[in-house]
């Protein structure tokens, strides 16, 4: 297990990490999410001693990391680091020279093992190819091979999916799953929620220098608020409990869920577009880009909120008591409704 305990780090007077604690176990894929510049790379570089915390400690397999030459060598053999851009990582002219670079430096080169790694990554026959003649995807695999050749117990990957196309992303997901099968502990930073969900066992969100989320499942709306890439669409579901006043604005669809909600709409004289399976169809339309108002019986609000977190759908809560609304008057209806909803959303996340 790798553990970070209350790690602080600043860079040019800017505090990047402000007391980060986390751990990665073997046979576990931990996903580190966060915006560009949130300090993901800085955090990851503490895991194999590339950076030294100003305060706090890093503990690997029960031993606190020390920063003398010998301890670092041991640490870096244990924890491999795959950098975001393979061009920054590949140092040698040919594939073979680059993959044996690490083992040669530690004096633990095992050609048979390395050949097997190349085979597994689909790089057989590439040994004598020049690295700068490879495609982006091939380079990425060479970079991974170079790290695996050191036979680490843990593998850190910094944004392996940045700038990669759909096929490349699937390839990387496949490699990650294979490594997990082999029993390696992994920590992977990314800002792609779909990739994260496809490979992750546990999800951390780094924001403002702190881990603000650490759980085995991940909430879509929280992810979106933290600047993580999800399925970007114009659509959203505006969730309105049946006893709230109804929001203004243009909606492509009105969906209804639950008997009280149906009664309410009837009373208002509104004919809903979606009557059956209201929640699910509302979600789907929103994923497709539509704005949907979902009027829902109050008792079922929690169900909707829970379900929404599973799908790449933006859910916005609109809640405003009927008489409160009547007291304040019409003129600031839309505005305050919006900010009220925003507030509800915020508190929901934390």
């Amino acid at each position: 297990m790798i553990e970070l305990r209350d790690v602080w780090f600043s860079y040019n007077d800017r505090e990047v990490l402000k007391g980060v604690s986390m751990e990665v176990r073997k046979e576990e894929v931990v996903i580190l999410l966060g915006r560009n510049g949130a300090g993901k790379s800085t955090l990851l570089m503490h895991l194999n001693g590339l950076l030294r915390p100003e305060k706090g400690e890093v503990i690997v397999n029960g031993n606190p990391v020390r920063y003398d030459r010998k301890s670092l060598t041991k640490l870096r053999r244990l924890v491999g680091f795959v950098f975001q851009n393979p061009d920054d990582q590949i140092v040698a002219p040919t594939v073979w020279q680059d993959v044996v670079f690490g083992p040669e430096n530690t004096g633990t080169r095992d050609d048979e093992k390395i050949r097997e790694i190349l085979r597994n990554l689909g790089l057989e026959g590439y040994e004598n190819r020049l690295c700068n003649s490879l495609s982006g995807g091939e380079k990425k695999r060479v970079a991974i091979a170079g790290v695996l050749a050191m036979e680490p117990e843990y593998v850190v990957m910094d944004e392996p999916t940045a700038g990669v196309d759909g096929v490349g992303m699937k390839e990387i997901a496949f490699i990650v799953r294979e490594l997990r099968e082999e029993g390696k502990g992994m920590i992977i930073s990314t800002h792609d929620l779909d990739f994260a969900k496809a490979v992750g066992d546990r999800f951390l969100i780094l924001d403002g220098g702190m881990i603000i989320y650490n759980d085995a499942w991940i909430d879509y709306s929280l992810a979106e608020r933290c600047g993580i890439r999800t399925w970007m669409s114009e659509g959203e579901v505006v969730l309105v409990p049946h006893d709230s006043c109804l929001p203004d604005g243009d909606f492509d669809f009105v969906a209804v869920m639950g008997r009280s909600a149906k009664e309410r709409l009837e009373k208002e004289g509104i004919e809903p577009d979606i009557n059956t399976a209201g929640m699910e169809r509302a979600f789907l339309r929103a994923i497709g880009g539509a704005r949907v108002m979902l009027v829902c019986s109050r008792s079922m609000m929690d169900v909707v909120r829970r379900e929404a977190a599973t799908y790449p759908v933006r859910l916005r809560l609109y809640e405003r008591e009927v008489d409160e609304y009547e007291r304040e008057g019409v003129h600031n209806r839309g505005g305050s409704g919006r900010s009220g909803a925003h507030h509800a959303e915020r508190t929901e996340g934390h």
Binding site: L50, R69, T73, R76, F81, Q89, V91, G102
Partner: protein
């Protein structure tokens, strides 16, 4: 982890800004080299140290320590080879005096240079040189080289980091091999960079003009003050 000079310069508190700094530094250099006396050196060292300590604090002292490895042995040689009366051990009195003077000249000059580099950005320096009639072509090449250096240093830092994580710097032999490999990577990147730079310039209709930075000079009062003090000390002392 030390801050780079560019980072120090970005954060420093400047009493004089822009091209004015370059003129201040040039006039100061010329003055102290004309007067060439220990007292002028001492006063210059003091003034520029004050200015630099104000703007960049401890970073200034760190930069002033750098050349000691060159200066100390060189000063000892001077004290030894210069003919004159033996003072102590192998050193002569004239030698020690000359070394003393050289020491002050070096540190006075150094304080001027360090002041310049911790307060003035390279584009500002280039702009001032252009105003001082350095040929436009030279300024253009200097600007392009500077931009290339910016990119290459970033790339080198990333390469070093990843080589380090694969233990490329453990032991002297590995270190030498790794450095050669990194140099090779940088060479390959240079070739690609030349291609990219060319395209970048072409796509924006490059016709030989490098724009001036938008910064303006301020603090001319301080410039006059410093120059006057140096000149006065040279004349009076």
């Amino acid at each position: 982890m030390h801050r780079t000079i560019e980072e120090i310069q970005l954060k420093s508190k400047k009493v004089v800004t822009g091209a004015a700094n370059v003129y201040l530094v040039m006039v100061s250099f010329i003055l102290i080299y004309i007067f060439n006396s220990v007292s002028v050196f001492a006063i210059t060292l003091m003034m520029f140290s004050l200015l630099s300590l104000h703007s960049s604090g401890m970073d200034y002292l760190r930069l002033m320590k750098l050349p000691a490895l060159f200066i100390i042995p060189a000063l000892m040689v001077i004290a030894f080879i210069t003919p004159g009366e033996e003072l102590f051990w192998i050193f002569t009195e004239e030698g020690v005096n000359l070394a003393f003077k050289t020491f002050f000249r070096t540190y006075a000059s150094l304080s001027i240079m360090v002041y310049l580099i911790t307060t003035t950005s390279v584009p500002e320096i280039l702009f001032a040189l252009k105003k001082l009639r350095l040929p436009e072509f030279v300024v253009e090449m200097m600007s392009l080289i500077y931009r290339t250096i910016q990119i290459f240093l970033d790339e080198l830092i990333r390469l070093e980091r990843s080589a380090d994580s694969r233990l490329g710097f453990s032991g002297k032999k590995n270190m030498l091999k790794t450095s050669a490999l990194l140099a090779h990577s940088m060479f390959v990147k240079s070739m690609e960079r030349a291609e990219k730079l060319n395209m970048a310039m072409e796509s924006r209709c490059y016709s030989g003009k490098i724009p001036e930075p938008s910064s303006s000079s301020s603090g001319v009062g301080y410039v006059l003050l410093v120059v006057t003090v140096i000149a006065a000390s040279g004349v009076i002392l």
